[in-house]
C-alpha cells in the first residue's frame, strides 16, 4: 500500500482513538462524575463489573474496535520511527512483516478473551 494511505489511516485512527479511549477512560476513572449524571458503573475495574461488561455485545464490540485502531496506530507509528533510520529495502520489508505479524498476534490474543466470554 502507498504510504499516503497508511498516513491517512493514521489520522483517521487517531481521531477514532480520541473518541473510544475517552469513553474507556471516563468509565474507568471518572465514576464519581458519572454518578452525578445518574450513570452507575459500579467500581469499573473490579472483577464483577468487568465481567458484567464483557458479556454485553456492545462493550465487547467497543473494546475490540478500540484494540484494532490502537494496534494500527501504535504499530504504524513504531514502523514510521524505525523507517526514519533509512534502512535498506530488505530491512524495511522485514520490519514491516514482523510488525504486521505482531499486530495480528496481539489482536487475536486481545480478542480471544472477550469472544470466549461472549460465547460463554
Amino acid at each position: 500500500m502507498r504510504h499516503t494511505y497508511l498516513w491517512f489511516l493514521q489520522l483517521v485512527t487517531g481521531v477514532l482513538i480520541a473518541v473510544l479511549l475517552a469513553i474507556h477512560l471516563v468509565i474507568m476513572h471518572l465514576d464519581a462524575i458519572l454518578g452525578l449524571f445518574g450513570v452507575d458503573v459500579a467500581d469499573a475495574p473490579s472483577w464483577e463489573s468487568m465481567m458484567g461488561r464483557s458479556i454485553q455485545g456492545v462493550w465487547a464490540g467497543l473494546y475490540i474496535a478500540l484494540l484494532a485502531v490502537v494496534l494500527y496506530h501504535a504499530l504504524n507509528g513504531l514502523r514510521g520511527i524505525i523507517l526514519e533510520l533509512a534502512p535498506s529495502a530488505t530491512t524495511e520489508r522485514i520490519v514491516t512483516w514482523v510488525i504486521i505479524a505482531f499486530g495480528i498476534v496481539a489482536f487475536i490474543g486481545g480478542t480471544y478473551v472477550p469472544v470466549a466470554l461472549l460465547a460463554g
Binding site: 487517531g14 480520541a18 477512560l25 475495574p45 472483577w47 501504535a74 513504531l78 490474543g109 480471544y112 478473551v113
Partner: protein
C-alpha cells in the same frame, strides 16, 4: 559554484532526543514521539494484564488491581495519563494543520514576512498552555491525593 550539501540539517538518531536550534514545533514533535513510545510500552503491559492475567480468574485479577494501588504504579499511571493528554491534543493540532485548518489567511509576501509556522504559533502556544494546566490538574488528582 558553491556545492549544495545534501541533508545539511539532518540530525540523525541524535535528533530523536535533542533538536538543537530548531523551534518549538520541533520539540513538540520530539515529545510526540517519546509519549507515543511510552504509551506503546504501557499498551503492551496493559494488554498482558487484561488478557493473560484475566484468564487466570478472579483472584489473580484482584491481586493485580491491588498491586496497582502501589505509589510507584500511581506515578506511572500519572505519566501515562499526561502522555495521553499530550499525544491526543498535539495529535489533534497535527491533524487540523495537516488538513489545512488554523493556518490563517494567505497574505502577499511583503516584508516583514510572516511564515506559516509563525501564523500558527498562537494556537500552538495556547495548546501547550492547556496541556500544562491539565498536567497540573492530574498531578493534584494522582500524586497529591485529589478531591
Amino acid at each position: 559554484m558553491k556545492q549544495i550539501q545534501p541533508r545539511q540539517n539532518y540530525l540523525g538518531p541524535g535528533g530523536w532526543v535533542w533538536a538543537g536550534k530548531y523551534k518549538l514545533e520541533r520539540y513538540l514533535y520530539l515529545l510526540h514521539r517519546i509519549t507515543g513510545l511510552g504509551i506503546l510500552f504501557f499498551l503492551l503491559i496493559h494488554l498482558c494484564m487484561t488478557t493473560i492475567f484475566r484468564l487466570q480468574g478472579q483472584d489473580v485479577w484482584q491481586a493485580t488491581i491491588a498491586l496497582l494501588q502501589n505509589p510507584w504504579f500511581k506515578i506511572g499511571e500519572y505519566l501515562v495519563c499526561v502522555a495521553f493528554v499530550y499525544h491526543a491534543l498535539n495529535g489533534l493540532r497535527l491533524i487540523l494543520q495537516e488538513l489545512g485548518f488554523a493556518m490563517g489567511r494567505p497574505t502577499p509576501p511583503v516584508y516583514p514576512y510572516k511564515d506559516a509556522l509563525r501564523k500558527k504559533r498562537p494556537w500552538t502556544i495556547t495548546l501547550v498552555a492547556v496541556i500544562i494546566i491539565l498536567a497540573l490538574v492530574f498531578f493534584y488528582d494522582f500524586i497529591v491525593g485529589g478531591w
